[in-house]
């Protein structure tokens, strides 16, 4: 009887469901969870975080990011572009080179280059950016500081190899040698 029951049991299946949304994502785990390609033209180099991901903490990125989940904390990617998707809910301070908002942000935003707030977006917080585009219908409450981008420092001039200038030491040495010879 016991054996038969064991045979009837279906083979254990590997759990394929994602971890519960409340569990914070850990550092080092690949974040790409969605097959959606939001920005078709640029998606080849854009990391993506799907709408079922909830994240608490600091998020740093060294590549462009499409974020459609929920985050509480901060996002920092000063050299790259961040897109908050239509399902994205961000309760965090954001620093990025370029930010496109289609979802909701509750926090201060700093865009080194450009901030683009689309018509369905909601942004509550203060903005510091060099350029801003806000579509009609977008909800924004907060202050806007337009900061002029710092002029890029020109690289220091590299020392050019110069032709050896005629040094005065040789003739001096020569004359000294001559003088010594004359004395002898």
């Amino acid at each position: 009887m016991w054996n038969r029951r064991k045979e009837e049991e279906p083979p254990p299946r590997q759990a394929s469901y994602p971890p519960p949304a409340s569990e914070p994502a850990r550092e080092g785990i690949p974040m790409s969870t969605t097959p959606v390609k939001p920005m078709s033209a640029e998606s080849s180099h854009t990391a993506s975080i799907g709408k079922s991901v909830t994240f608490k903490g600091q998020l740093f990125s060294r590549e462009d990011l499409f974020f459609d989940g929920e985050i509480e904390g901060s996002i920092e990617m000063p050299e790259h572009r961040l897109t908050i998707g239509p399902n994205g809910k961000v309760s965090a301070g954001i620093k990025a080179r370029e930010i496109v908002v289609l979802g909701t942000i509750n926090g201060n935003v700093e865009a080194g280059d450009k901030l683009d707030i689309r018509k369905e977006a909601r942004l509550l917080g203060d903005i510091r950016t060099a350029r801003i585009v806000i579509e009609d219908g977008a909800f924004f409450k907060g202050s806007i500081d337009i900061v002029k981008p710092e002029p890029q420092k020109a690289p220091p001039p590299q020392p050019r190899p110069q032709a050896p200038a005629p040094t005065p030491s040789a003739p001096v040495a020569a004359t000294a040698a001559q003088a010594g010879a004359e004395r002898r």
Partner: protein
């Protein structure tokens, strides 16, 4: 009585005067925003507002209206920091959202708007937001507004010139250039308070100066100095 009936048929239900209890809403039927055309009007008041701003370099401006690219560009290009308040949106959340998680009472509503330090702003664009307040909200908000403005801060405001026509037509105001406004139609919103010149003088009696700009269209303009 017939005269009153005729007037209400032609011009709709009149809104409450300042100090009176607001009347029932929804009597005025206005076309949907899509059917109404965008209007362009020249504005002497706005021109004066910008003249004052150009004399002062930098500072902060409060915009009570809907945030828009045009207004942001117009203000920030002069070197000012712009604070967008989206006041009517907050007001809607208060009036419509009392049962749906919005601010439940006046105190909670007030705790969410105009939360700035004292003497923070060098100027303010009020548009015609004050007309949509209830008398008690107006009474509470006016001292708060004055508090957050610096002395000699410049304020631009609009009010309906003729409350018998178009009082529920609601527009979003866009700064086209320093002397031109674009009025973008929005869904109808009945005016809650009617102001005349006398009541406006009384409302801003503690300001340094009040300047009226009479216009031929539905709005009158005011330029104030705190």
């Amino acid at each position: 009585m017939i005269k009153d009936r005729l007037r209400s048929l032609l011009f709709g239900e009149p809104a409450a005067r300042v100090g009176a209890t607001p009347r029932a809403q929804g009597a005025v039927k206005t076309p949907a925003p899509a059917e109404r055309a965008t209007l362009v009007r020249s504005s002497r008041g706005l021109e004066q507002f910008f003249l004052v701003l150009k004399e002062r370099r930098g500072g902060s401006i409060l915009d009570l209206g809907e945030s828009s690219q045009a207004n942001i560009t117009a203000i920030t290009s002069l070197g000012f920091r712009l604070s967008s308040e989206n006041f009517l949106h907050s007001l809607d959340a208060y009036t419509n959202g009392r049962a749906a998680g919005g601010p439940r009472d006046r105190e909670e509503f007030l705790s969410q708007i105009l939360q700035y330090p004292a003497a923070h702003f060098d100027g303010a664009l009020l548009w015609n937001c004050l007309e949509y307040l209830t008398p008690e909200l107006l009474e509470t908000l006016m001292p708060r507004l004055k508090e957050i403005l610096r002395p000699r801060a410049v304020v631009y405001a609009l009010f309906h010139g003729d409350y018998r026509r178009g009082q529920s037509e609601h527009f979003a105001f866009r700064i086209q250039d320093t002397r031109t406004l674009t009025l973008v139609p929005r869904s109808s919103r009945p005016v809650q308070l009617q102001f005349n010149n006398r009541s406006l003088e009384r409302l801003f009696s503690d300001y340094h100066s009040v300047k009226f700009f009479l216009t031929r269209d539905a709005y009158r303009e005011l330029l104030l100095q705190r």
